[in-house]
Symmetry: C2
Subunit: 442 residues, 2 copies
């Protein structure tokens, strides 16, 4: 029997990397968020590394302070970026977020199916709800309550899937001899009807080689799990430790089962930030440089909050004083705080505690390639759901991961050495689907 293998998605945040100072780093395109060549370069590297997919998160609003940083959660525009990548890559999956809160189901169905056709069946749709007031105001709307947002999302995804299914496999005939273009009898209005939406259909586009795009879900809570259980084959998760990651995977599997779907068709992708060096020291130096280019002062202050000690920029190059460490404690509200405290007690300088990546949206894997592979293997073998979203600190970290970490994972039998199929569903090991899941309650 073959060793189980992990699934990997590459996420180049905002075209420059997840670190706020990444856009300033030499070797990173400062205009990466509007320069689609940066995304193409990352996707080609990830494809060389046999990644399952590249992923682009999105929020339809300006939510960052643009005076000091590149927009982090809104790339140029997801449909435009995925189309460019579809034309310039051949095998890798292409996944992007599109909101279920402020869109038309018909437009999402059409654009994502068009993407799936252009890419030969390599698209994924991360179907999220949007709760940011800045986004709502761009659409002249108010933010619906959380419960309402999820009720809309459920109908929205069902509508999109029903529209996708309105053109069945085999109905495109292209019979030039007899002048039969399509089996029009089989392409019929679907009359999607819900409390929040209505769409007649049909959609005028045939299925792709994988049928329809793979649906991904992100965000926790009972509502999120229900969405995942009903519709998703991929789930994005952001656990800070293995126990919470493993618990979420089990919850996702139970949710799929509860809706009559196969739990083995679910992959959870856990976000990990990576900072690769040829040695641990080099990786820490890389992060120190990135911290300098970002907002180091706020990180120093926040480390103080994490460990209950007043810190300022004057403390940067010293270990935390042992008198202060006596009263230090890990802030109970931040799951990253115990690691921060441990590093402080080990005697690292304030600068180096921060360089270990204790202030990031995801756990940070910092070190030599072997160390990063070890961490991923440990998490993987601890049952966190089969996959990881690799989120490099800065754009040049994409190639570092592909060239130095992937070969180790491959050597250990933990990751594919070649694509076996051509579609994203092939990469994820899930079957063709065109329309709502067979078990769907409607």
């Amino acid at each position: 029997m073959r060793t189980p293998q992990m699934h990997l998605t590459m996420q180049l945040v905002g075209g420059t990397g997840i670190e706020p100072g990444a856009w300033r780093r030499p070797g990173v395109a400062a205009d990466g968020y509007v320069n689609v060549d940066a995304a193409v370069r990352a996707a080609k590297a990830a494809e060389r590394g046999k990644f399952d997919a590249v992923f682009f998160a999105d929020t339809p609003a300006v939510v960052d302070d643009l005076s000091t940083r590149s927009p982090s959660w809104a790339p140029l525009e997801p449909v435009v970026v995925l189309t460019a990548l579809a034309r310039e890559t051949e095998r890798i999956g292409l996944v992007a977020t599109s909101s279920t809160t402020f869109n038309h189901a018909y437009n999402v169905a059409r654009q994502f199916r068009a993407l799936d056709l252009v890419s030969g069946g390599r698209i994924g749709w991360n179907a999220v709800t949007t709760g940011r007031p800045q986004a709502a105001l761009n659409y002249g709307a108010e933010v619906p309550s959380r419960g309402e947002r999820y009720a809309i999302a459920e109908e929205f995804i069902a509508s999109v899937m029903a529209l996708w299914g309105s053109w069945p496999e085999g109905a495109l005939l292209l019979d030039t001899e007899n002048g039969r273009f399509a089996d029009a009898e089989r392409i019929q209005p679907v009359m999607v009807r819900g409390r929040h939406m209505f769409s007649r259909g049909p959609l005028g586009l045939p299925p792709s080689p994988q049928g329809q795009p793979v649906v991904f879900q992100a965000g926790g809570g009972g509502n999120g799990l229900a969405l995942a259980g009903l519709y998703a084959n991929g789930v994005y998760n952001s656990p800070f430790d293995i126990p919470s990651g493993a618990a979420h995977w089990q919850a996702v599997r139970r949710a799929a089962q509860a809706y009559g779907r196969d739990p083995d068709h679910m992959t959870v992708f856990n976000g990990i930030v990576t900072s690769v060096g040829s040695t641990e020291g080099e990786a820490l130096q890389r992060r120190r440089e990135l911290d300098e280019l970002g907002d180091l002062e706020s990180r120093v202050q926040y480390l103080g909050v994490q460990i209950g000690v007043p810190l300022d920029m004057g403390d940067l190059d010293k270990p935390v004083h042992k008198d202060l460490l006596r009263d230090a404690y890990a802030h109970p509200g931040d799951p990253r705080a115990p690691l921060a405290l441990r590093l402080a007690k080990e005697g690292w300088t304030v600068r180096d505690v921060i360089a270990h990546g204790i202030i990031q949206y995801h756990p940070v894997a910092v070190g030599a390639p072997e160390q990063i592979a070890d961490m991923l293997q440990h998490w993987f073998e601890s049952g966190v759901g089969g996959g990881f979203t690799i989120t490099p600190d800065a754009a040049d970290g994409v190639e570092d991961f592909v060239d130095h970490v992937v070969p180790i994972l491959q050597k250990r039998g933990l990751f594919r050495t070649e694509y076996e199929g051509t579609t994203l569903r092939d990469h994820l090991g899930i079957p063709y689907q065109n329309g709502l899941p067979a078990a769907h309650p409607a």
Copy 2:
């Protein structure tokens, strides 16, 4: 002084050509409407021919009988197609329709700006209203009245332009040295407010080299002229004869003036279907073949209506009998009928009268390259608005026009031999614009 030169847009309808039977023709990709390579091939050919732009019309609904023909007015999906073309061409403009009736202004602003960035400033937006019930039902909406649709369109275009202008030129600093990403003070909410829409902004994307996409307008009437006068630099028109084309151009110029805009910044593109052969006989043979592949029977019947004579498929290869021609008349409701009657009286067979293209959405230029160039020159010099939308009968007609008709126009000094600028605004001879027109009433 240089001879005034015409402007040319290439429109490959539905990826296969405007003739209903085009998808069946050897040498045409039968799946052209879902195969973006067909659009890429056409755009590259048009770029070789120094066309101002390629154009894709769109209706967000299935409105054709798919049993016998390829969807004509809905390509794969405009944003996806334009992105692919942006990556695979370098100079030619890229124009697509997007409805103002069933979209969010913020989404159109964002997607078309992203396209404009990816293409280096080569995008045009044909801002239409949508009155088709099939489209409305896909969005769970009813079709607003014509007046209402135009009122919405006016606010919609103003909103999109205001969002485009919310990121002023020069506000993207990319100052890596000092960590100044953008001049955030200058990127502010626009608070677009109207009777039909609200959008806060700002849009998180800087202007392209041409500022913002060129707005095109299509569709006549007083409402359409007002939209053109307020916002457009390009107008699509479909006149069947020179006098009505010339009258529309004058009306468009007056509309621009009425709103304080420069009438010399308007170009009207008149739709012309082309069927090119090396001789007139070969061109007619080409059309006879396309008629056979399409719905010839309904064309025979319709010719009967045009000239007031009962015709059926049995009459196909004979001239219309002289006894019938005695009572024949040109149907007053169809401006193409006088030509049909004249051809019938000249003694062409029914098949050949039809092959002259008397039943098409646009006037048909059928013949040898010199004949087609003559027709375009005659129209151009009769003051119909400076431009033409060249709409080939079938996909292989794109290259025929580029290789055989364009050189004649160039030799006569009627069309450019090289691009002078890099943006669509350069090709059209209009200035940079980012935001609402200076003279806008709001």
